[in-house]
Amino acid sequence: MTATLTPPSIPSLAVELRGLVCTFGTVKSGTVKSGTVKFGTVNAVDHVDLEIRAGEFYSLLGPSGSGKTTCLRLIGGFERPTAGQIRLFGQDVTGQPPYARDVNTVFQDYALFPHMSVLDNVAYALTVRGVDKATRNKRAGELLELVKLSAFASRRPAQLSGGQRQRVALARALVNTPKLLLLDEPLGALDLKLREAMQTELRSIQQSLGITFIYVTHDQGEVLSMSDRVAVFRDGRIEQEGTPQDLYEYPRTAFVADFVGGANVLPGALVGRVGGRFALRPERVEVSADGPGLNASITSVHYLGAQTRLELDANGVSIHALIASSRKFTPGQTVNLRWDAADLRPLED
């Protein structure tokens, strides 16, 4: 063959969602349409456009019921979109069943097969592809080593702890090296210490294997430390998308400012601007007992360990501030607040 014009390229986009809609509930005849939302239905995912690059650790963040799981299930093929298109690695998979998609999922409840040993669970994806027993057991053994569970290969899932099950679920989903891994709040059931260890582990596994991860959570701390990019969901729509730094430093809306790191949302009038609203991170608020600044009174003091959180009231607007715990304040005390003008982030309405 003669030279082709376009070099054989690896698709740089892992996932493309175009105008994706997923509606739940049935419209009974005779119900009234109001706007685009039909009475009696929920748009769990509402016109979502999303592009995820190959090799990215991408997180879907949002409050409960915001449509994260539904979005993930649409990508995995467990839910059919009402409208829109799903492309994985350049191919349209909108109408494809889950088994035809090169995507694996770590389910929130792990969904390990109770009648199989840990090894058989991990080898499952190879078993159903007809890989011979020696090969698949060897490969499953490697994966168990990766998640440090080699000693548990012959046990049943019921004989494992929550954290161990979670790692089995991860090994099972990675055994056939999918190009895309979906994780739905996989660390939800773990204690803080194990969760932090698993966060590091997940991140390093993702980087060493070069697999695209889509990670669903409502824990913003988790998201900030692990992700390359994040989409913040609200009512089935993407409110803002960007790197963790973007979201944290430059929230575009009051919702994002509050949800990602709990910023103060202050009216312009209070902070000496003409109008609009501004985000101000609590740790950027300087509190002093005297000196210039905005007058405020302390409503309550919450000791958090290294830091202390102050709830303040300034002209009827509630503000919170994070200060070093070495500084002592008492409720009812009147203080002055200051901040760097550059830390005020204008918000869209």
């Binding site: 467990f78 889950p98 088994y99 999922t105 969904a111 097969f113 499952y124 994806a125 159903v128 056939n176």
Partner: protein
Amino acid sequence: MAAPFLPKPSLQKPAAHGPLLYRRPVLALLLLLVPPLLWLGVLYLGSLLGLLVYSLYSIDDFTGQVGNVLTLDTLKSLFTAPSNVDVIVRTVLMALIVTLACAVIAFPVAYFVAFHTRGPRKALWVLLITLPLWASYLVRVYAWRLILAQEGVISWVTAKLHLSWLLDEVLRLPVLGGPSLSSSYLGMFLVFVYVWLPFMILPIQAALERVPRSLIQASADLGARPAQTFRRVILPLAVPGVAAGSVFTFSLTLGDYIIPGVVGAPGFFIGQMVYTQQGTAGNLPLAAAFSLVPIVIVGVYLALARKAGAFDAL
């Protein structure tokens, strides 16, 4: 002086006072369990033991009097007398085939109800499945006799469809056939399957109902086609249900003495044997011996099922 925050001695044994049953949980458990244990132990196991003992009594062939001499002859005759062996083989074969047929018919029904119905509709289906149990068993068996009889519904329908030749052909089959459906093994088989089907459907449905949907999704997610998911995930998890259901259908068929009498070919079944031997024939030891057969067979069956891993998923 003791450190002030060490618990007082009385606090270290908090159960030393308080309600008696709280302090002695085993006692409470015993109180709860005594009535059912008495029932199971004395009435149930006790009467089984009684049967075993009775089967050891000798019987005078001439007078028909039960003697006090203990003998194993009656039990042995179960396996040596050809007429007795016949009865056992006939009954066990029928029970096996009925169980197999029930499982094959019940599985799709149970699968449908478990996976494709919800809420009130599911309740309606379960109701429909158990509906036949509302009517008396005797009424249903006699109704079937009318359905299967020579001038019954089935022969009438086949005649209307000009298929009488097919029915005749079926009745000419060796062993299965007979003068009419109502006096053939085939007819008996149909009635058995009909009567015991709910006892197979419900345990399978219950087992399938407990299979988390996420397991099925996980299987598909890992690349299994629907048929593979069925074979590797759904079926193994349903096996305990099938095992439970088959214990019902198998042992109910083994012990039944009405259906072989009302519908079916000549040739005794175990239940009939027990009935006639303790009644008209007056051979109580043989009746007792026969009634032990289903118990032993079901015991063996359960042991085999267990060994084959039927209860591993429980």
